[in-house]
Amino acid sequence: MPAVEFRNIDIVFGADQKGALKLIDEGRSREEILTATGAVLGAAGVSLAIERGEICVLMGLSGSGKSTILRAINRLNEVARGEVLVEHKGGAVDVARCDEDTLRDIRMHTVSMVFQQFGLLPWRTVRDNVGFGLELRGMGAAERRRIVDEKLAMVGLTNWAEKYTNELSGGMQQRVGLARAFATDADILLMDEPFSALDPLIRDKLQDELLDLQRRIHKTIVFVSHDLDEALKLGNKIAIMEGGRIVQAGTAEDILLRPANAYVAEFVKHMNPLNVLRGTAVMRPAASLRREGDAVVLDKGGRVKVKVDADGRPVSLDLDGRAGLLAVADGEAGKIDDKLASDSDCIVAPVDLKLKAAIELKRHTDLPILLVDNLGRLAGLCDDDEIYRGLLRRLDG
C-alpha cells in the first residue's frame, strides 16, 4: 500500500465545478475552461502513488498545479473528483471524502506540513511554535516540553527556544517550521517549497540537513519545488507537472535521459548530469565486450584482459602478461583510499556509481572502471568515452 496515492483527481477553483469537469473530460486546456466557465483548473487527471519512505518531488513552474495537489493530501484544497488515499492507522483513507473527525485525526497524527513562508506564529516563542501541533492535540505541558526539546535539538535550535520567531534568520525560521512538523511524529510530511524563500547557500545546507534527517527518520516526504537541481538532489521520484497535469513521473535519471515530451526536455536541458547519471546509464554493457575464454578484453589491442570466475566476478588483471592490481571503490560515491587508488592499475566500482564519482576515479587510472552489480558480477565498463557521452547526454551512440 502506498503512503499517499492520487487516483485520477481533478481540482477546480470556482463555482461552476460541474461545467469545468465536463470540459476537463473533453480534454480542454486551462484557458479554454477559464473562458467558458470562469473556473480555474487546479489539477486534472492526476494519478500518482508515493511509496512509504520515499521523497517524491512535485516539480513544475508556478501555476503548474504542484502545490494544488500537495494541499489535497491534507485537504487544504478540496478535490472535485477522484480519490486521495492516505495510509492512516494501517488502512487507506480517502482524504477527499472522509468525515471531519477523521480528517482532523489525519492532520494531527499522520500528515504534517512545512510552508514556504514558514507559517510561524509571531506572538509565540520558538518552543511554543514547535509545540503548536501537540498543543492542538491537547497534550500536557510536561510531555510537550520533552518532545519539543528533543525536536529542537534535532534541528540545532536548543539555544533559541525562548526567542520569538522574528528574532531568527530565514533559515532558522524554517528549521522551526521543520521541527514543528516533526513534533507531531507524522509519517507523511508535506513540504510546500520550503526552501524557496531562503538564499542559495542556506538552501543548500538545509537540503543536506533534510537528506541527513531522512536517513534517520524515514518519513514519506512529498516535496514541492520549482528548482530542478533541488528536485534532482532530493527526490527518489520526481513528477513534472504542467498546466495541472503530470507530464512525467519517474526517477531523476529517467527524466534526464528519457524526457517524455518537448516540455520536459526543455526543462532538463540545462541540468547538470554529474550528480544524476549513474554507471548503469552510461556504461558499455559486459555482454557487448570482446571475450577470450574466461577473460574480458579491455583495450583495442587485446593486451589488457580481466579474468572473471564462473559467476562473472572479476578476479585478476592481466597487463600483457604481467599481473595488475585491482582496487575496489565503495558505494555510489565510489569511496576509495587515495593511496590505494593511485597504486592500482584498475578500479572496480558498483554499477550505480554516480557520474561525478566515475570522473573522480578515472583520474587515478588509464584503464576503464569495471562496474559490478550487487553480487559482484561484471556489469559493464566505464571509460573516458562513456563519461564524455554522459556529460553530453548522447547515450544512444
Binding site: R104, F115, G119, F132, Y164, E167
Partner: protein
C-alpha cells in the same frame, strides 16, 4: 405636482414614534430590566471608585501604570494630572465619568467583539451591518437620545445606551479588520495541524488580531469620553454635568475647569491603554 407631493407626506416620523410606543407598551418589562442591570453596574462601579480614599486610588493608578508600562514619566504625569483634578474639586465627577466610560466600553467589547468576529467570518453579514454602523456613527446623537430617554427614563442608563450606540462601531470595525487580515498562511498552518474552528479562533485569529482589537477598544474609550456632555443632558452624573451647568449660566471659569478635567482624563486613559512595547521586538 409640488402641492400634491407636499400634501401627501409619508409619515416616516409617525411610524417610528408608533414603533417606540409599541416598544414602551409591550416591552416595558424588558427595558426596565435592562435599565435595572445597567444602572446597578454603573452605580456599583461608581460606588467602588468613590469608596477608596482619593489619594490611595491615585497611588494605585500610578502603581498600575508603572506595572503596565515601566515608565517613570508616565507615572509622574498620571499622578500629577489626577492630583490637579482633585485640587479643582472634580474628583467625584471624574470618578463618575470614569465609571460611565468603563461600563460603556465593557458593554461595547462584550457586544462588539463577537459581532466583529462573526462579520469577519461571514462577508455577507459585514455587508449587511455596514450601513447600520455608518448610521450609528453619523446620526445626530440627540435623535436617538429622545427614544432612549422614553424607553429607559432619566439618569445614567440612557446616557450609557447613547454612549454605547455611538462608540460600538469602533470595536466592531477594528475586530473585523483584525480578524480578516490574518494571513492565509497562518490560518492554513493552524488547519494543517488539525485545529478545530474554536482552536483556530483562540490560538491563531484572536492572538494575531489582538493589537488591532486593542486599538478598537482604545478608540471606543475615547469615543465614550466624548459623549459625557451629551450623557449629562439626559441626567448621567459626571464631568458633563458642570459643563452643561456652565453653559446654561455662562460660567466661563467652571466650563474651562470641567473641560480641562475631561481632557486630562482622556489623555490619562489614552496613555494607559496604549499597547506596551512588544516583548518580541528585536534588539
Amino acid at each position: 405636482m409640488y402641492d400634491w407631493l407636499t400634501e401627501h407626506k409619508i409619515p416616516l416620523g409617525i411610524w417610528l414614534r408608533d414603533f417606540v410606543d409599541l416598544l414602551t407598551t409591550h416591552g416595558q418589562g424588558f427595558f426596565d430590566f435592562v435599565s435595572l442591570v445597567l444602572g446597578a453596574l454603573i452605580g456599583g462601579f461608581t460606588a467602588a471608585l468613590l469608596w477608596v480614599p482619593p489619594l490611595l486610588l491615585i497611588a494605585l493608578f500610578g502603581l498600575g501604570a508603572w506595572l503596565m508600562h515601566r515608565s517613570i514619566g508616565l507615572v509622574v504625569f498620571i499622578v500629577g494630572a489626577l492630583l490637579l483634578v482633585t485640587n479643582l474639586g472634580y474628583w467625584q465627577a471624574t470618578m463618575e465619568t470614569l465609571s460611565l466610560v468603563i461600563c460603556a466600553t465593557l458593554v461595547c467589547v462584550i457586544v462588539g467583539v463577537p459581532i466583529g468576529i462573526a462579520a469577519a467570518h461571514r462577508p455577507w453579514l459585514y455587508t449587511a451591518i455596514r450601513p447600520i454602523l455608518d448610521l450609528m456613527q453619523t446620526i445626530p446623537t440627540f435623535v436617538y437620545l429622545i427614544p432612549t430617554l422614553v424607553l429607559f427614563g432619566l439618569g445614567a442608563v440612557p446616557g450609557l445606551i447613547s454612549t454605547v450606540i455611538f462608540s460600538l462601531p469602533a470595536p466592531i470595525r477594528l475586530t473585523h479588520l483584525g480578524i480578516s487580515s490574518v494571513p492565509p498562511a497562518l490560518y492554513e498552518a493552524g488547519k494543517a495541524f488539525g485545529a478545530t474552528k474554536t482552536q483556530l479562533l483562540f490560538k491563531v485569529e484572536l492572538p494575531y488580531a489582538l493589537p488591532t482589537i486593542m486599538a478598537g477598544i482604545t478608540q471606543c474609550i475615547m469615543l465614550s469620553l466624548s459623549m459625557v456632555v451629551i450623557a449629562a443632558l439626559v441626567g448621567a452624573d459626571g464631568l458633563g454635568k458642570p459643563v452643561v451647568r456652565a453653559l446654561n449660566s455662562v460660567n466661563i471659569a467652571m466650563g474651562f475647569e470641567a473641560g480641562l478635567a475631561i481632557v486630562v482624563l482622556a489623555i490619562v486613559l489614552d496613555r494607559v491603554c496604549k499597547r506596551p512595547e512588544r516583548r518580541s521586538r528585536k534588539g
